[in-house]
Amino acid sequence: MTRLLVSRIGQAAIVLLLAFTASFLLLQALPGDAILIKYQNPEMGLTPEQIAEIRVLYGADAPIWVQYGNTLWNFLQGSFGYSVQAGVPVNPLLATNLPPTLRLASLGLVVAVIIAGALAFAATLAPFAWLRNLLQSLPALMISVPVFWLGIMLIQIFSFRLRLVPIINPSEFQALILPVVTLSLPIAAPLAQILIRSLDEVQTQPFVSVARAKGASRAWVLWRHVLRNALLPVLTIAGVLFGELLAGAVVTETVFGINGLGRITEQAVSNQDTAVLQAIVILAAVGFVLINLLVDLVAPLIDPRLNTPIGASA
C-alpha cells in the first residue's frame, strides 16, 4: 500500500510538472499578453514607453526560458506572482475565490448525485413502460440545456417574477440555492444516464433472477444486490465530472455574479492573465490527481475483486 502511494505521488509530481510546462508554453504562444490587453486599452491613456516600463516591472521583458525558470521557482515556493488584471497578488485572489467554488461544486455534486439516483431508481421501478421511457429520456433533455440559459431562466422566474430568493444581497443560504440547482442539473444528467444503463445491465444477470425467485421484492433486490454492482462505472465517471464542475462553475458564477474560481478563470482567460491561469491549471491538476487517487482507493471497497493483485492468480 505504501509502495502504491509513493509511486502514485511520483506520478502526480510528473503530471503536475507536465501540466505546468504545457500551460506555460501554450499561454506564451498566444498572441498578445495581459500587459498589452490591460495597458494598451485606450481608456488607460498610456504611451508605448510607459507600457514598456510596466513590462520590465512585471519581468515580462526577460527571455522566455528565464521567465519559465522564475515562474517555476516561485511556484515551488508557493508564490503565484501578480495578477496583472486585478492588480493584486495571485495568492490572496485564490484564497478568496477557492472556498466559495469548493462549496458550490461540492454541494452541486451532492445534489447531482441525489437527483441522478432518484431519477435512475424511478426510471427503473416506475410502474408503466411509457413512464419509464419518459424518465429515461429526461437526462438527455437535461444535458442539452445550456447552463447559462438555465441560470438566467431560474433567476428570471424565481428571483425577479416570484421574488422568492434575492440575487443581490442574498443570505448565505439563499445565495446557494439557484446556483447549486443550475450547476447540478447538467452534472446529474450523465450520472443518471450511466446509472440507468448500468442498473439495466446488472438486472439481466442470473443472480438477480435467483434473488427474485427467493421472494425478494424488486426494490429490495435493486437496493441490496443490483446497486452495488452498478455503481462502479458511475464512480469512474464521477472523477471525470470534476472537470465539468469547474466548467459549470465558470458559467454559473458569471451569471449569478458570485465570487469564485470559475469567474476568475473566465476573466483570466479573456485577459490572458497568465499568472492566474497558471495557478488555476496547477490547482485543477492537483484536484484531478487527488480525485482519481480517491476513486482508485474507494473502488476496491465497492468491488472487492479489484483488491486481488492481477498477477496473483497466474
Binding site: N169, N259, N271
Partner: protein, 548 residues
C-alpha cells in the same frame, strides 16, 4: 443630456410656482417633500470589477465610479459651464504663459486616516502623476502635460512649474485622474493598488470593506466638510453607505433593478431603455464631452492611404441610420470630431453628409472598379477591410455590422472581427491587419483631441513614432496642430486652434465620427440627485433616497 441642470431647474420652478400659487402651508408641504433625507444604503450594480485605483487609472469606468466618491480634487469643473471652480484649492494664479500655477489650499482638510491634506501631500500626488515613479511602477498621468516640478510655498500654498506652457493643467486638476490620495498610498507598489482597502482619500465616502472582484462597501465620512464651494449641499453626504456589486450579466442587472433588489445600475443598452422607462424607472444619461464614438483610419495601410477612398467611405456612412436603428435619443448623431457639448466644438456636419453618389464617384476616380462579386478592385486587389469590435463601446459590433452593410452598397467589404482580446490588441497595432479601428475618448478639454490622435498618446492613426514600431507614415501638419493646442496659453486662440484641427481631421477624412457617446445608467424612482462630472462619472455626494 445631463439630467442635473434640468432636475435642478425643475425643482426651482416647482418651488417658485408653489410659493406663488399656493398658501404658505401647502407650499411648505411641497418643499418638505423635496427636501433630501439622510440615511440609507445605495446598492449600485456595476458591469465589471475595478482594476486599479491609482487615480490616473480612473479612465476605466469601473475605477472612476469608485474613485469619484472617495477622492477630492483641487478644482471642480462645473458640468454646466465647464469652468473650473474652487474645491480643495480656494484660489489660484496662473502666470501669463501658463508655465506656473500657484494654488492656495483650503485649511482643515484631512484624509480618512487623519493625516492632513496640505501642500506637501498635494505635491507628492502631482509629482507622481506628472513624473511617474519608475521604482514603484507608477506611469505618468495622461491629463498632465509638460510637468517639471512642484514647490511647497507654505503649508497651504503649492506651486507647480512646467517645462513648456500647459494651458490644460487647470482643467486637469479637476479630472477623475487627479483625485488626491494620502501620500502613504503612493508608497505602495502600483501593481498592488487593485486592493481598494489600500486607497485612502479625503472624499465624502471611505472604503469600508471589499470582496475582491465581487463587491465593495463604502461608508459615509461623518466629518466631511469640504465639498466643492459652489455646490449647494455642504457637509456630510446624505447616504450612509454605498454598496458596489459586480454583476456582469446585462439581464440580471436590469432584472434586479426592476425587481427592487438594486437602486442604480451602470451600462444599460439602448434596446433596454424602454423596458426601464415603462416601469417609471429613470434612465440617466450623461455626455462624455470628448472625441465622439468613431472609426479612425490607419493611412499606413495602402488600401486607405488614398484620401479619395477615405472621403468615399465617409460619404457612404449613414450615421443617422446607425443612431436611429441601434440607439436612442441619448445618443446624438455626431456633427464633428468632438461632441457638441465639448469645449471648442465646431459644427462640421456638412463635411459628414451622407451621399452615396459622391462615394461611388470618388471610388471610381480613385481607380477602384466593381468586380464580378460586386466588391471593388484595383490592380488585382480587393477593397476589403478588417476591423475588430471594441468591447467597451456600446453595441459596437452591431454598429460596425451596420456600417459594413452601408459600405457594401458602394462595393466596399468591411469584415467585423471578434477575436480574443490578445489577438485584437496585437492586430490593432498592425495597420496592415486593421486599416481602421473604433475609438472614443472622454475629457472636457480641447487636449482631448491630442489624447486621441497624437503618436505618443493614444495614437489612433498609428503614426510613426507611436505604438507601432514599424510605422513609416505620419502627418506632421496634424501633429503640429495638436501640439499647439496643448501649449497655447491664450484661451481664445486655443479654442480657434481646436476648430482648425477638427476641420483638418475631417478634410483629411482620417476619422468618421458616428455618435456622441453617453454613459447610461438607470435608477429606481426613489433615488434622487445623482450627479455626474463633466465626463459622465457619477457622484453620489448629493444623492438621497426617499421612502420606497
Amino acid at each position: 443630456m445631463s439630467l442635473i441642470p434640468s432636475n435642478a431647474l425643475r425643482r426651482k420652478v416647482q418651488s417658485t410656482l408653489a410659493a406663488v400659487l399656493l398658501t404658505g402651508v401647502s407650499a411648505m408641504a411641497v418643499v418638505a417633500q423635496e427636501r433630501p433625507v439622510q440615511g440609507g444604503t445605495l446598492v449600485y450594480l456595476e458591469q465589471q470589477a475595478h482594476t486599479n485605483l491609482y487615480p490616473p487609472a480612473g479612465g476605466f469606468y469601473p475605477n472612476s465610479g469608485i474613485l469619484n466618491q472617495i477622492t477630492d480634487k483641487l478644482t471642480w469643473q462645473n458640468p454646466e459651464t465647464l469652468q473650473n471652480e474652487p474645491w480643495i484649492a480656494e484660489s489660484w494664479e496662473i502666470n501669463a504663459d501658463a508655465t506656473e500655477y500657484t494654488f492656495k489650499l483650503r485649511s482643515g482638510v484631512t484624509f480618512s486616516d487623519g493625516t492632513p491634506l496640505d501642500a506637501a501631500a498635494v505635491a507628492r500626488n502631482f509629482d507622481t502623476f506628472g513624473l511617474g515613479n519608475k521604482e514603484l511602477g507608477y506611469p505618468v498621468a495622461e491629463a498632465i502635460n509638460n510637468y517639471d516640478h512642484s514647490e511647497v510655498v507654505d503649508a497651504q500654498t503649492i506651486k507647480f512649474v512646467f517645462k513648456k506652457p500647459a494651458p490644460g493643467f487647470l482643467q486637469a486638476t479637476s479630472v477623475i485622474g487627479s483625485g488626491i490620495v494620502a501620500p502613504s498610498v503612493l508608497d505602495q507598489p502600483y501593481a498592488e493598488l487593485g486592493d481598494a482597502t489600500k486607497i485612502i482619500g479625503s472624499g465624502a465616502f471611505v472604503i469600508e470593506s471589499e470582496v475582491l472582484g465581487q463587491s465593495l462597501n463604502l461608508k459615509v465620512r461623518e466629518d466631511y466638510a469640504w465639498g466643492p464651494a459652489n455646490v449647494d449641499h455642504q457637509g456630510r453626504a446624505y447616504l450612509d453607505a454605498i454598496q458596489y456589486i459586480v454583476t456582469p450579466e446585462d439581464s440580471v442587472r436590469i432584472g434586479a433593478l426592476l425587481a427592487g433588489q438594486a437602486d442604480i445600475i451602470r451600462q444599460i443598452q439602448a434596446y433596454d431603455e424602454p423596458q426601464v422607462e415603462a416601469q417609471s424607472y429613470t434612465v440617466l444619461s450623461a455626455p462624455t464631452r470628448g472625441v465622439n464614438n468613431n472609426v479612425s483610419f490607419r493611412p499606413e495601410n495602402p488600401l486607405v492611404r488614398d484620401l479619395k477612398v477615405r472621403q468615399a467611405l465617409t460619404a457612404a456612412t449613414n450615421s443617422a441610420e446607425i443612431v436611429s436603428t441601434l440607439f436612442s435619443s441619448h445618443y446624438p448623431q455626431a456633427t464633428s470630431v468632438i461632441a457638441s457639448t465639448a469645449s471648442g466644438y465646431v459644427d462640421l456636419s456638412e463635411k459628414l453628409a451622407f451621399d452615396l453618389e459622391k462615394a461611388k464617384a470618388l471610388l471610381d476616380e480613385a481607380g477602384w472598379v466593381p468586380g464580378a462579386d460586386g466588391i471593388r478592385e484595383k490592380d488585382g486587389a480587393k477593397l476589403e477591410l478588417n476591423v475588430y469590435e471594441s468591447l467597451p463601446q456600446p453595441q459596437n459590433r452591431a454598429t460596425l455590422q451596420l456600417l459594413s452593410q452601408q459600405w457594401g452598397v458602394v462595393g466596399v467589404k468591411l469584415n467585423v472581427l471578434a477575436g480574443d482580446s490578445g489577438s485584437a490588441a496585437t492586430d490593432n497595432l498592425d495597420p496592415l491587419k486593421t486599416p481602421l479601428r473604433p475609438a472614443m475618448v472622454g475629457r472636457a478639454d480641447p487636449d482631448v483631441i491630442k489624447s486621441n490622435f497624437f503618436p505618443t498618446n493614444r495614437d489612433s492613426l498609428l503614426q510613426k513614432g507611436g505604438s507601432n514600431a514599424n510605422a513609416t507614415w505620419e502627418d506632421p501638419e496634424l501633429n503640429a496642430l495638436l501640439l499647439s493646442i496643448a501649449s497655447e496659453p491664450n484661451p481664445e486662440k486655443r479654442i480657434a486652434l481646436t476648430g482648425d484641427v477638427q476641420a483638418y481631421l475631417l478634410d483629411q477624412a482620417y476619422v468618421i465620427p458616428i455618435f456622441e457617446e453617453p454613459q447610461v445608467f438607470a435608477s429606481a424612482p426613489y433615488v434622487h440627485d445623482v450627479s455626474f462630472d463633466a465626463v459622465a462619472r457619477p457622484s453620489f455626494y448629493n444623492t438621497w433616497l426617499s421612502a420606497r
